[in-house]
Symmetry: C2
Subunit: 257 residues, 2 copies
DNA sequence: CGACATGTTGAAGCGGTTCAAGTAGGGTGG
DNA sequence: CCACCCTACTTGAACCGCTTCAACATGTCG
């Protein structure tokens, strides 16, 4: 049957050794044996459909998830029930690390489009990290990178005017796409205007207006979900990012190996 | 000489086994031997005076620091040179973890008052973490907690009106003081109004007005640096924090051992 | 095709900043 | 010890950036 053939193909592609993302999501310089041990603890789950949850706030924390394809938003919920997006996630990123401390998920993760993920049971990952020094360091590095990134996001929310916020968001996306080998100036937004507005702490209408404005200024070409950056340097200047905004820098370095 | 006697007293108190903060900054359930090994890699540095830097953006990352006494602010700097505070730190907290990924400090840490710290050379800490399972888990937990906390801060900056921001800040301080055995309703602010405003993404004038307003409403008594919370529940309601704002919860749990 | 979510654009309103002026501490030097 | 200065803080009034409200356009999915 077609179905099983598809699954088999997936299986083939899915092993860490063959995975085109292993540079992003897993440590460089692991020996073949280590990579196999890592590979063995990983569950490849069925794809998660758009709108479905990978995990929800309050659920017991069992695993972290490596995103293989698609994109995901993670968000918290305040006492009034308002959803606050804390990040969008692209292939090669590890999700759920913020739940280690409390053993309970503190954010929900929802698919923005159909995604495939690798599930890494955290206890086994921790055990493995004791045996593979590079792995422990990699986990710590990933969390450290996330912290850095949140600092920058925080700086944007605290001070930046709306133009800078959106510019900053677009530049960052651009960087992240480039780091993954995609075009840095031509991409599709998998998230809604509403989600962007939410992440950046502004009203949807403002996002809409800014897209129009940026287009008039010749910075972008926007058509629905599709964005083409026409003047990246100008956009970067507008962004006025914090000097160390480099979620992607280390990813880029990693790719150069 | 008096001086050397003081130093000796400090020495006595400073070992992890005797340190009143070890529950906050270090993992529970370490065996005596493990604790001693940990203790051996720690440098107790001379006190850092108010206004001095513990580390600065761009400096090579060598160590993380456990705060023993006093308080510290950490901040990033954007391209325009504007300082954005990302957090205030109290005794028992570990600083510098956000520099692991890039091997360079991405925030600066500046003393708000005279502080004493333990310096933990990170490479040695990592080695030790491979040998002491509880330590690896503890490091991951600490970073995870930090991530959680930043999510909540982010949610505050993205949406909350100014009253909620300040209320949220005060409630959080209150929690953290309680977790350390201090009064949850009666404390001194070691940071300036300016710093609070900066952290919360608002103008100093607004902070000032809110303190007056809260006082009129009978929520607080404020006199310069000293704050007395008179109606904590009301303040908590105002805060409308994200449902999982629990930097201190795990600390509290840890203390119950 | 209709119904509903998503996105766009315009106009009014307001929350919070900015500007301005004044007060109060805390430290320094005479 | 007091006069001085400088920084931190407070309070008032004007302004403005962004939100909110409203109406409409466009896609999308059953």
């Amino acid at each position: 049957m077609t179905k099983s053939r598809v699954v088999n193909l997936d299986e083939l592609r899915s092993h860490c050794q063959k995975c085109s993302l292993y540079r992003l999501c897993m440590p460089m310089g692991l020996e073949q044996g280590d990579l196999e041990r890592l590979d063995r603890i990983i569950h490849r789950r069925r794809p998660v459909e758009k709108g479905e949850y990978l995990y929800r706030i309050g659920e017991p924390f069992q695993s972290v998830y490596a995103l293989r394809a698609g994109s995901i938003k993670t968000f918290t919920i305040n006492q009034e029930g308002h959803e606050q997006i804390v990040g969008f996630h692209l292939p090669g990123e590890l999700l759920g690390l913020d739940a280690i401390a409390g053993k309970v998920h503190v954010t929900s993760a929802r698919a923005l489009e159909t995604v495939s993920v690798c599930e890494l049971p955290f206890e086994r990952l921790e055990e493995l990290s004791l045996q593979i020094p590079g792995l422990q360091h990699h986990l710590l590095s990933l969390m450290s990178e996330e912290l850095q990134h949140e600092h920058c996001h925080l700086a944007v929310l605290a001070r930046a005017p709306v133009e800078s916020r959106l510019a900053s968001f677009l530049c960052q996306l651009s960087d992240r796409f480039r780091a993954r080998g995609y075009s840095a100036t031509d991409f599709n937004l998998s998230m809604s205007r509403n989600d962007i507005a939410n992440l950046l702490g502004m009203a949807v209408e403002t996002i809409s207006r800014l897209f129009s404005q940026f287009q008039e200024q010749g910075l972008l070409k926007v058509e629905r979900k599709h964005v083409q950056i026409r003047d990246l340097p100008a956009l970067q200047t507008l962004a006025n990012r914090c000097t160390t905004d480099v979620r992607t820098e280390s990813a880029l370095n990693r790719q150069e190996h």
